[in-house]
């Protein structure tokens, strides 16, 4: 089966000091990102703030210039902006801040039917289509006359979902789909997304820092640290036996109802290092509980831990014993 979305060695660099500092310096926002998303599946992309999650989403949609690697959508390579424009009808992006992603001067009805106008698709009545799309996400038709600032966070999120799904895309990239919502509303949104996925055969790329969320929705997980994928694999395999110390720490840091199950020995210390001062060797060695000398000098290669489960660490075996 060909992957719906296939990312190989993707790199995004931001040049620094273009005018006076010489063109030599560049920020590596993303490096060597390789992952696949099968049709009808959900891939969870996990990482802290500043790990490059959102940049990766924008790069996949051609909203962020890439400096290396290849992107394929449904087998076709995406190179020039025309390639990305050609797939815009089949991809959709849901924003972390749903309210800000709606034009302040457009009513909800105009916003959700905007994709039809953009792609010159004839619809019998804009009002009727808006009501239909809103009904699909559980909003009343009267909502169409509202402006974004008149919506609650959950309503804005639903409008975002309605707009993303208007053209029945094959790939939906959801950036923190539950950020800033009450727990009950989070569940509603997730159920709605799952529902629509079953009904329309969508594939999701869910970007989040919330492990509980990916455990709930994702078939596969990719863990991003400082712009590099440190571990990818099936959700069940990763939660059962995380190979990378970073993944293990993330899972250990999840709140547990039973205090005796909480572990503090795996806690990672400090903040994610600034991307300007990327550590040499393995990026994670500054915070790694099991780092040794080699981690400070040599970048680790990928090791297979099982079917479709790989990890970028010098000592995946030894570290996994502790988990």
């Amino acid at each position: 089966m060909t992957a719906l979305l296939s990312v190989r060695d993707l790199a995004v660099d931001l040049p620094l000091g273009r005018w006076f500092g010489g063109g030599a310096r560049a920020l590596n926002i993303l490096a060597g990102v390789t992952m696949d998303l099968q049709p009808g599946r959900t891939l969870g992309l996990v990482g802290e703030s500043g790990s490059g999650k959102t940049t990766l989403a924008r790069a996949i949609l051609g909203l962020q210039p890439v400096s290396g690697g290849t992107l394929r959508f449904d087998g076709a390579e995406l190179r020039r902006s025309a390639d990305f424009r050609a797939i815009r009808r089949r991809t959709a992006l849901m924003f972390q801040d749903a309210t800000a992603s709606l034009s302040p001067r457009m009513t909800v009805g105009e916003a959700v039917t905007e994709p039809f106008v953009i792609h010159g698709i004839r619809i019998a009545s804009r009002r009727g289509k808006a009501a239909e799309l809103l009904a699909e996400v559980g909003l009343p038709a009267e909502m169409a006359a509202r402006y974004p600032h008149e919506l609650s966070g959950g309503q804005a999120r639903r409008v975002g979902v309605a707009r993303a799904l208007a053209l029945k895309p094959s790939l939906v990239i959801a950036d923190e789909p539950t950020a800033g919502l009450d727990v009950s509303v989070q569940a509603e949104i997730l159920n709605l997304m799952a529902d629509l996925k079953d009904r329309h055969g969508l594939s999701y790329l869910v970007i989040t820092h919330n492990l509980a969320l990916v455990r709930h929705v994702a078939d596969r997980i990719a863990v991003l640290y400082l712009g590099r994928l440190v571990e990818t694999g099936p959700t069940r395999a990763i939660f059962a036996g995380p190979g990378h110390p970073y993944t293990r720490s993330l899972i250990a840091a999840e709140p547990k109802p039973d205090p005796r199950q909480r572990r503090t020995d795996l806690a990672i210390r400090g903040e994610i290092p600034g991307i300007l001062r990327r550590p040499p060797g393995c990026e994670f060695h500054t915070r790694c509980p099991v780092a040794r000398d080699i981690c400070r000098s040599a970048a680790p290669a990928l090791h297979d831990l099982g079917p479709g489960h790989s990890v970028r660490c010098h000592f995946p075996e030894t570290t996994s014993k502790g988990g």
Binding site: R58, L61, L63, R85, R88, R89, T91, A92, L93, F95, D97, A100, S101, L102, S103, P104, R105, T107, G109, E110, E114, P115, I118, H119, A145, Y147, H149, E150, R163
Partner: protein
């Protein structure tokens, strides 16, 4: 939906007392200017030296000047001069600023750098000095005045529009448009334009009195509108030269300047509140 939105904005403007007052004053001057021949009681340039320096009376509601011309008529026709120049100049400058600002904000970086350099060097010149220089080269007159105002005002408008465009280009809802596949033209005209034009309208409305004052100032210096065409500036000058013989002239010539300045400023502030959909609900109730 959008016509309803505009109607709501008007209601919001009228429910704000200052905005309503501003709109009323502006309309008063606009009516005066448009219908000057019918509003004015007499011919503004007809001399009648026998009746010079008359104080306000039933025959001449605002009195007469040093050549016996009816002052009220001159004020009414002066409104025509002032508004024609101010609205034309500000309108042209607004359109120019809008286009250049959006090009700078949305276009390639090098073009932005060139335009910003241009704006900065233009606005480093003092307005009145620049006006005097242009008048010296081209010669005084209405056309020159408009040219000066357009050249001097474009940088300020363009800079406002550029900043708005730049700030909005990175906004999520614009990125969303791009992700949905909207063309640059659609993003520019359908999404950026309506969001940048509001602040510009407010600035334009607040700049109209500045231009009216500039016109009056230059006409006062005899560098603007040529006599005998009535202008609030040359009426004020006539009043100043004959302040001992007829002190009422200065007061009457100054009044429309004060009132039009206040009117346009109030209208601008009222528009700012009425056009912002986030404030609209609160104002309209």
């Amino acid at each position: 939906m959008s016509s309803g939105g505009r109607f709501r904005a008007l209601r919001a403007l009228l429910s704000d007392p200052m905005g309503a007052l501003g709109l009323g004053l502006v309309l008063l001057f606009v009516v005066m200017a448009l219908f000057a021949p019918w509003v004015a009681p007499a011919d503004p340039i007809k001399l009648n030296v026998a009746e010079k320096f008359q104080p306000p009376s039933l025959a001449h509601l605002a009195g007469t000047d040093q050549l016996g011309r009816d002052l009220l008529s001159r004020i009414v026709y002066g409104a025509r001069t002032a508004l024609a120049i101010a609205l034309t100049a500000v309108g042209l400058a607004g359109v120019g600023g809008l286009i250049l600002g959006m090009i700078a904000g949305f276009g390639p970086r090098w073009l932005d750098a060139v335009l910003v350099l241009l704006f900065d060097s233009m606005s480093s010149l003092p307005m009145i000095m620049f006006a005097l220089a242009v008048i010296t080269i081209v010669g005084p007159g209405t056309g020159t005045l408009i040219l000066v105002v357009v050249l001097v005002s474009i940088p300020a408008y363009a800079r406002l529009i550029r900043a708005q465009t730049l700030a909005l280009s990175g906004a999520d809802f614009i990125v969303a448009e791009r992700a949905m596949g909207a063309s640059s033209a659609r993003i520019l005209f359908r999404h950026l334009l309506p969001n940048v034009v509001g602040p510009l309208l407010i600035l334009l409305s607040m700049d109209v009195p500045v231009v009216i004052m500039l016109e009056a100032g230059l006409s006062y210096l005899n560098l603007g509108v040529r006599p005998p065409t009535p202008s609030w500036g040359n009426i004020l000058y006539d009043g100043y030269t004959s302040i001992r013989a007829a002190p009422h002239m200065v007061v009457i010539a100054g009044l429309p300047l004060v009132l039009s300045t206040l009117g346009f400023t109030f209208l601008g502030e009222g528009l700012r509140d009425a056009l912002d959909p986030r404030l609209r609900r609160r104002v309209a109730g």
